[in-house]
């Protein structure tokens, strides 16, 4: 089986090196990356992996963050040019962590009649920016048994999609679903976690908000989600640092969250990166390729207790789906009411 990961990156130098190395050591065979006009060291890092023969680099100079279009191009290329059996569509701040011995092992377990796996997104909370690398600081993860349904929050329970390779697949914006596919989704089994590190430092957050805000206001034909709008508003009002700091979880809040169970300590990515870190950088890379290691990276099979905790959190996902279904039903009901004769009469009377 061949497993290919696609990633779209723009100015992600603080995370992209770790991301590519981690996934190559976790069972991914090859990476297809789109570099969208980066101006930090992202391009050089991706070039280093391309030189090592484990990455195909697409340079995309266009503005507008056409994420769906560019990810679709990579997902199709994975099928047509690189012989992928399974494709993971990742963002640069997402670490796909198998609940098994490796990503490849987990995808091999999916019955043949299913072709889409919904991976459970688990967000790590931002911590004070001390100058240390993000993986040393961000070792606390939200562990909520109740869904946060605030449309402005990036802590809403969601899934991201991995799929069997298809030459004409269409991936939806945000990589949450496939717009066109022949594959069937494997509903409620989430054998992969997406460990998500969206907010890593003041500088990184300000740049991300600027790029996404510009794209949504100037190029994309729909409004951004709530946090795009509120963050971009803060940036334009010169309050982005205050907005960032308000989201950072300080030591007191961390202690409170760990005590009441809304946060858990999760050092899996930190520990993996410690293992993969090269003593001296090699050709622009700071982390080892599988071929440079004596033994493969180990992934522990979760214990029964861990599986039970995971199931409890995944139930919050199901509850959030019910709330979303209700929102869609309310909208449908409103549209049907507009077509019903009584409502048409009432509208005429109001006019």
């Amino acid at each position: 089986m061949k497993l290919v990961l696609t990633v779209l990156a723009r100015d992600e130098a603080d995370v992209i090196d770790a991301l590519v190395a981690f996934h190559l050591n976790a069972g991914v065979d090859f990476v297809i990356a789109t570099d969208n006009a980066s101006r930090d060291r992202t391009t050089e890092i991706l070039e280093a992996y391309a030189r090592a023969g484990c990455l195909h680099l697409i340079r995309e100079p266009a503005e507008g963050l056409r994420q769906g279009e560019w990810v679709t191009r990579m997902a199709r290329l994975a099928a047509t040019e690189f012989g992928a059996d399974w494709v993971i569509n990742s963002d640069a701040d997402e670490f796909w962590y198998p609940r098994g011995r490796s990503l490849k092992d987990v995808f091999a377990l999916v019955p043949a009649e299913y072709g889409i796996v919904n991976a459970f997104w688990r967000s790590f909370v931002p911590r004070p920016d001390t100058g240390e690398p993000w993986w040393e600081r961000m070792t606390a993860r939200l562990s909520s048994t109740a869904p946060i349904n605030d449309p402005r929050s990036f802590y809403r329970p969601v899934t991201k999609v991995a799929h069997r390779a298809e030459p004409d697949v269409v991936v939806g914006r945000g990589n949450h679903d496939l717009v066109r596919t022949r594959s069937q989704p494997l509903g409620t089994w989430h054998p992969v976690e997406v460990l998500h590190f969206p907010l890593r430092s003041r500088a990184q957050w300000a740049r991300k908000v600027e790029l996404q805000g510009d794209a949504f206001t100037k190029h994309i034909d729909r409004a951004g989600t709530g946090y795009h709008l509120t963050s971009y508003d803060a940036l334009r009002r010169g309050r982005i640092d205050q907005q960032h700091d308000a989201m950072v979880v300080g030591d007191a809040a961390l202690a409170c969250g760990l005590h009441d169970g809304t946060l858990v300590e999760d050092t899996r990515i930190r520990d993996a990166l410690h293992e993969l870190r090269l003593a001296t950088p090699s050709g622009g890379r700071r982390f080892a390729l599988p071929s440079e290691r004596a033994a493969p990276l180990q992934f522990a099979r979760p214990s029964l207790v861990e599986d039970a905790a995971f199931a409890a959190e995944a139930s919050a996902l199901a509850e959030s789906y019910v709330v979303r279904a209700q929102r869609r039903l309310d909208e449908l009901e409103r549209r049907i009411a507009m077509l019903e004769p009584g409502e048409a009469d009432a509208r005429r009377r109001r006019r």
């Binding site: 349904n149 206001t217 709530g226 989201m247 809304t262 199901a318 509850e319 959030s320 709330v323 039903l329």
Partner: protein, 363 residues
């Protein structure tokens, strides 16, 4: 491809402009609430409310004079309800309609005098400004503040403990059950239920599962206030409305109201036990805000941390919003209504025409 890039007509400033130009009106029903109504109005005018429409129901304790003071300053429009009967839903409906039709309200907060609406992260206007346009109703989560021993201090100084949302009381005769109230976009045809818990026959869509505003409820603030409140309610409402009022009236009829009231009061030992056991939570947010107002200082609504948000999500779960049975019932109703629409002659003719066109096109 799905994402075509093109210039949007919306400029980057739309969001702030929206908030700056939004008009937020609070409606207010009051009868003999002099101990709370001044703080209530001052707090909301500081929290983002632009204007107040109030109905004064035969107050005799100084409430009327306080409302008239705000009216003289141009902050409030005063309606006087002269009948002894209480028409809660009718008054709320009239005030919401007046707010929209005469005072240009974009959003309306239908409030009682003992309710304080607390936005989570930003002013009321900022929070409501972030609601996607397709939604017309935001529901607020009720926070019950428990009665505390009488004293010289104001209610806000004494009542700084509330029932924990993660330990909901679902008993039908309890005053402290989990509940919601609505805030809605301005609509001159809107109709509200008694207590403003829901809109009646409205096409405004509710935003489900997200409660960006809490409303703090201080229904019982002292023995004297409680006695007056339930005497007024008995006169105005006649028959009891729920199991709690039934108990109140039974106690009054038997001359045991003081004993009944004292049984609801949370004294210091009970407070300590409740906080330690997790059934009560110390919450000084309103107390702090009213102190700031008295001192002439600004007050803000801090952004909750993710830890706060996760705890709040657990509180919200008690409302049972994620209800699959209700979703299925709603689907059944919609299917029926759609079938009725589809069976109409015009719909059938359109359907037949569509099939003919598809056949002619060779599909």
């Amino acid at each position: 491809m799905e994402d075509t890039a093109r210039e949007r007509t919306q400029g980057p400033d739309e969001h702030p402009r929206l908030i700056d130009s939004m008009k937020l009106v609070m409606t207010l029903r009051a009868r003999d609430e002099a101990d709370v109504v001044d703080s209530q109005i001052a707090f909301h005018l500081g929290a983002g409310v632009d204007f107040v429409v109030a109905t004064d129901h035969l107050s005799q304790d100084g409430t009327t004079e306080i409302l008239e003071g705000y009216a003289r300053n141009g902050h409030l429009h005063l309606i006087r309800a002269e009948s002894d009967d209480m028409d809660e839903g009718g008054w709320a409906t009239r005030m919401s309609r007046v707010a929209a039709s005469e005072f240009g309200a974009d959003w309306v907060v239908p409030s009682d005098a003992d309710e304080f609406w607390w936005p989570r992260g930003g002013s009321l206007k900022e929070v409501l400004g972030s609601v996607p346009p397709r939604y017309g109703v935001v529901r607020a989560l009720l926070r019950h503040f428990v009665p505390r021993p009488d004293g010289e201090e104001s209610f806000a100084e004494r009542m700084t403990v509330r029932v924990s949302g993660s330990a909901p009381i679902n008993a039908p005769n309890s005053l402290f059950r989990p509940n919601l109230k609505v805030i809605h976009r301005g609509d001159p045809n809107v109709a509200l239920s008694a207590g403003a818990h829901t809109l009646l026959n409205s096409t405004l869509a509710p935003l489900r599962g997200w409660y960006p505003i809490e409303f703090f409820h201080f229904p019982l603030r002292s023995l004297a206030q409680a006695e007056r409140k339930y005497a007024n309610l008995r006169t105005s409402l006649g028959a009891t409305r729920n199991a709690f009022y039934e108990e109140v009236y039974r106690a009054r009829d038997n001359g045991r109201f003081e004993e009944f009231y004292e049984s609801l009061v949370v004294d210091d030992p009970a407070r300590e036990r409740g906080v330690a056991g997790g059934s009560l939570v110390v919450d000084t947010r309103l107390c702090d805000a009213l102190r700031a107002i008295r001192a002439g200082e600004p007050f803000a609504f801090p952004q909750p941390t993710v830890v706060d948000e996760a705890a709040y999500a657990v509180d919200v779960m008690a409302l049972g919003e994620a209800d699959l049975v209700r979703v299925q019932r709603q689907l059944d109703t919609l299917e029926e209504r759609l079938r009725t629409l589809e069976s109409k002659p015009v719909s059938r003719a359109y359907g037949k025409l569509g099939r003919l066109v598809r056949r002619a096109a060779g599909r």
